[in-house]
Symmetry: D2
Subunit: 448 residues, 4 copies
């Protein structure tokens, strides 16, 4: 499962595009397929977007052409095989009020319906991005002012959207009413502002966290003024709980809490509800590290780095026969044989999607001599696909949608398998009985 | 001076995208910046476009994804520094009648006016290509049928356009009423059809020339039918005479005549009106070859390959000091010293734009020992910029707009300089008194 | 400080070059500059070597040309700026007994002397690799048989060498008398053999560890026979203790002990001799992870992943101003602000070389809000350069050679700084009073 | 058939490596596989060599590291599939007199014998280049001075060699006694010297031709002195006549005569001995251009550019089926259909090797409508392979070694076929009865 993207906006800094560049680098884990930045010099927007990693796309000369003291940026995740540069963001458009650029993280659930209506009215769509809907809605809105048009536009869309808009003189940041995807506001050291999908982007550019953009809130950035907050919707939070489980970087704070600490909580809760006697707790790196640490601290069982991750990965050109598919996991992960041999091991991972990787890891640990391997998963069984911007396999490929926990345990060849249950997960994230998280991928309960 | 692009369309062949690929390769001289192909499998359009040469962009796997038995393609010329992949063609759009893709060679003179009107009505423009106007006009036309809409759309645009449209089941080819840019119809060996900017594309794919698409004519290609011709405009031909002078490949036939033969005619006319005694006639390769041959045949002065062109060009990384700028010409062209030494040389080129290259060539010939160098140019002085799709320097950079022929002669350090005059040029292209060519770049007489 | 290379040898397997390829991938951490493989098909040697990572250099087609059931391989570390492909290994030579290829990990201390003698006798040196000495010594040896020549040759060289030789029908593996660099013997599942710089290479190719090649031992591999052991020298072990400190992969076992476990021991010893009250122990990733874990387990202070490593690194094209140099560390490492804020932190790293990185890390932690930062280093102060194959800065750039511990502490802006002392280090590696490790980089006591 | 390489040497110029770079670019037609330059700053040699074109390998930074006022360079032709960077030149070596670098154009006929003797005496060979023999011979020579050793060394080798040696303070240029391959001396504008395989290298760097290095002559370049000439051998010229036929650039002068003029002579002679009635003479570009011009001038039949060469070549990724092999020629060459249709055409090429390309060209011309196609070849039938440095197919692949002229005519589907005979060829090159050319590829008469 993979997040689809990250967004960033910089307002009021002479090196806006450079700050956007570094911020995007911090958000690279949310999308490695393509990236782009649009800046405004007050008169004109400038856009560069391309395939590849942020570091590879931009250099000093390119950033120098992205003039102006405001900039928005995007990194894009893409489903396998689709390397179309045409679907990179920001989406730029000239329209009756001038020029605008938009970046979007999320997924519109009524995108097709909106698009069809727009098409009926003569609109053309040149890409397959939901984001294109928005620029049409803004362009076609009957309102006079851009602000009113943006409000008009976002009221017509549904689903998950953390958006940043750039016009020649202003910047706007907006989250959907449920606040599915994170979006935070930070203050730059010079007094300017930054909005970004995750707070880890703030650290690199020396910005300080101010607060999250609220669900349903539209922030308006204008030169010489403090950001103005407009409540477009009454907030009804449904934060994507999978951000805590896997997507967000552990050094970020999302939805008001430290990701690292929350993951440790999951491990602690998991230890409480699914204890087992063992010689050590080991994480599947890097995702399982904080929850394994939590599990170990709570249980008192020693934490060990029992599996090593090889950073020199890349594509092997060798034909992927069955032999090779096992090799592939081994080229990325390798067991700390001397530690594991003859030991009872609790291995902690953040989630099980298809089950194939878990099976390879457990086999690897057993081949390395582990006497017992107990799998502990710091989230509930993933049973349902996401419609709010996460790339999930279809239901028939989600192992937990098709097998009982015992069947999965047999399939992955573990000595025992246990998941965190929904309640414990909610305790981990300090939900305090509030119904403010989207747990649809575990429960199938979608917001209609 | 450079042409801006080439277009091609293939209809009714199982390997449509492959044929488009080879055709585009033949048309590579009209644009090396970017290229693209859209195909239709009857249900859906497929598009791939990218930076670079046709041969580099496409491979077997990519062509295999461009399914279907119709395809259109484009190669793009771009002004220096602008390597935006976003402005590559075909332009694809989903709209109320389904999907379409368009390729365009030329320049719309009322593009801004049309765009502004469209924008006023709520349209958004995501690129800086004139082509985007067309898809909007088609999408917004009040007509029901695509054919009627295309007619509607092209009636609203002015300027130079050789267009090919692809819908899911049909292909359309259209030339502006003046037929500024060439567009020819050919027949594939299997009974299918090809349209292309130049007939040299036909040879490579074993197609036979049928006829030119007429100025103002719209050709409709539909499965199982012969192409249907619709006269959208009464033709008032104003063919770009510079296609004969420089743009078109010598093995093409444009506007009904062999380019090579026409260039030879120019050389013959030049010899008649601007004779001079000399030991040899040499071309500036490759552009000046046919006219130098004509000059030599007419004058009886021996033709020699007095200047060699080095094909291993590329960018030198050495700092372009003054010394280096001379080197740059020498790295591309080198004199046949043993032939030239002590000889009176007539050097024939197709045109003089800025004069700097001519000066370097003449210096090079003199350094190689030529006793006299007489420059003969197989077109009239280039005095005016083009607004119909050719990238020309601004008037202050056109040497002939700012100097007399004698001044140019002094500047380029030639012993004599003479141009073909407009009348002789028209004789060369067999105009026969008809006013069917656009000679604006020589005369400043633009069609309003 | 960086190891200079890794070697591998495969004998008796139909897919010898493929196994060498995967083994080299496992050893990539020992050298990323260049890599190469030579194979023998019984009649002829085949060699491919090039710049770059193993995964990038080889593909299926290239491996297919490396025919035969024996192969040797090498990955190369290179000092900055030197990207000469000419110094990649294996070194191949035709000589009077046929063809041979050699790979070498280490550094010959009498290389210049030997080379000068050889040159006096008419030898030519085409590269700057010590390895070239060896092929000359073998070629010029007065002995008849290759085995005797190899013995003859290695008796003339001094310093650190873990070597693998490949002839058309045999393979030889040899370690210097001190066993400076590691070299282990493993058995392939089909009965063939592997030798490699680290045992982590065995895991990937499903080989089982047999034993280390002994210091001073020469192993001879011949078809259809078990490896024959020849004691060329009486072993006087002086294993590079820095392999435990930093070079070797934690999942390897070198010099008979688990690297991971040994690093944990270092952390435990460090905790015993340099305890301090604090809220958490955090590693500098990835090098400091095992020793930080050991420190935490011994001290009972909680272990936390307080610093995150960003895996999307690469070169930034932004001018490296002072601002940027700090950015550079931040782009690679970022603090877990929410955990660290207001806390007393013990940060554990494997070594301090120049001190600049440590300073940036401590600054970063303080900016993230740590109330106290105590640096603990799991090895003694690095005071002396290495002459046995490790790339060390010159003495004036080794901070510990020029400052007291207190001065270093002030320089890196830590609240306290403590190193593991030599005795404790030796306890960590279970030296048991035996003088079997080279600790010259900490003590300046070189083997003469 | 392809030449194997080009050499260049610059002595006594502050920008020696830069001049070598530009000279090598001029000689790129003699080898596109790899290139390299070694320079000397008086104390040390510096070498860079790599795969690819000269322009791609070197940039300003790299040239800046090649310090000193002398430099030698090489471009390398390589047989298909062999892209080993290891066989690039210059070959560098440290030996008892210091450092040297050598570049070599040609082929040593006793290379194996010499190598075997050297190997018997303990030498090792790390590459498969003949050039390696030379550095061994120099290193092992019993003479004291480098000059004497070079003389000693070249006296032990046989075959074709145009060599340039660079030591720390001197440069040496040498041609074999037969002068198989060209090598000329030029003077730089600052008083320094250049030697190069072809004089076309002089023009680019503003050097003036002094004279050819004589067969058997060794030129010694020393600072502050004029080049000293040493007659190592009595010259017995056997210049490779194929340099005139095909290899050399037409703007070069080799073996004392203009290549272009000599090729024209061949065409004239061909016209005299093999006349035929036709409407036009057309060359196969670019090789056939000068001889076709000569044929046309002599016969009075008009010369036309009947075949166009497409400069945007590259590898097509399309599977090379039979259909595609024809396409391949068509992608490179295309017929001037409008000129050719219905005409009797004489097509002139420099040689026929396998016959396949000729057949494709003739088919192409016939498909374009030529009523008759008469093939005229400006050299005799190529019947024998070359052992002096030219890459020729084996005898069974040389069509003229296996078929009569009539059979070849039938095979290539020409209406008539005629070759230049040996006598006429010798007349063309002004041999004047002297036996100073090697014509072995036409006659099988090799120098023993």
């Amino acid at each position: 499962m993979n997040e689809k993207c990250a967004v960033v906006g910089i307002f009021g800094h002479k090196e806006a595009s450079e700050l956007a560049y570094f911020s995007l680098h911090s958000l690279q884990h949310r999308g490695q397929e393509a990236a782009g930045i649009s800046s405004s010099d007050g008169k004109k927007l400038h856009t560069i977007k391309d395939r590849g990693l942020v570091m590879k796309i931009f250099d000093e000369n390119k950033l120098a052409t992205l003039k102006g003291d405001s900039a928005i940026g995007h990194t894009r995740y893409s489903t396998a095989g689709d390397d179309s540069i045409l679907d990179a963001q920001p989406v730029f458009a000239r329209y009756d009020l001038g020029e605008m650029a938009i970046v979007h993280n999320g997924n519109l659930t009524n995108a097709e319906e909106v698009r069809n209506k727009l098409i009926e009215k003569g609109a053309i769509f040149q890409t397959f991005m939901d984001t294109e809907n928005l620029i049409h809605l803004i362009a076609k809105s009957s309102k006079d002012k851009l602000l009113d048009r943006i409000i008009d536009a976002v009221q017509r869309i549904e689903g998950a959207f953390s958006l940043v808009f750039l016009s020649r003189t202003k910047m706007f940041a907006m989250r959907d009413r449920h606040g599915f995807r994170p979006l935070s506001l930070g203050k730059l050291s010079n007094g300017g502002y930054i909005v970004a999908s995750e707070t880890c982007a703030f650290d690199l550019v020396n910005a300080t966290f101010v607060r999250d953009v609220e669900p349903g809130e539209l922030l308006v950035f204008e030169k010489g003024k403090e950001p103005v907050s407009i409540k477009v919707y009454e907030p009804t939070p449904k934060h994507c709980i999978f951000e805590y489980v896997y997507f967000a970087r552990p050094d970020s704070s999302v939805f008001g809490q430290s990701v690292y600490q929350t993951r440790k909580n999951m491990g602690k809760e998991l230890s409480k509800i699914e204890p087992i006697e063992a010689d050590m707790v080991i994480p599947v790196p890097d995702g399982g590290v904080p929850s394994a640490l939590g599990y170990a601290q709570e249980s008192g069982i020693p934490y060990e780095m029992g599996i090593m991750r090889n950073h020199y990965i890349g594509r092997t050109f060798i034909e992927p026969t069955q032999k090779m598919r096992d090799l592939k996991v081994k080229m990325k992960l390798s067991p700390m044989t001397d530690i594991i041999k003859g030991k009872r091991v609790i291995v902690v991972d953040d989630s099980i999607v298809r089950g194939t990787t878990s099976r390879r890891i457990i086999r690897m640990l057993k081949e390395a001599g582990a006497s017992e391997v107990h799998m502990r998963v710091s989230s509930p069984p993933t049973t349902d696909p996401c419609f709010y911007g996460v790339d999930t396999p279809s239901k028939e490929n989600l192992i937990a949608a098709n097998m009982t926990t015992q069947e999965i345990c047999d399939y992955i060849e573990a000595d025992s398998l246990a998941y965190l249950d929904e309640e414990a997960l909610l305790r981990s994230v300090n939900a305090n009985g509030e119904d403010k998280y989207c747990t649809a991928c575990f429960t199938g309960k979608y917001i209609v």
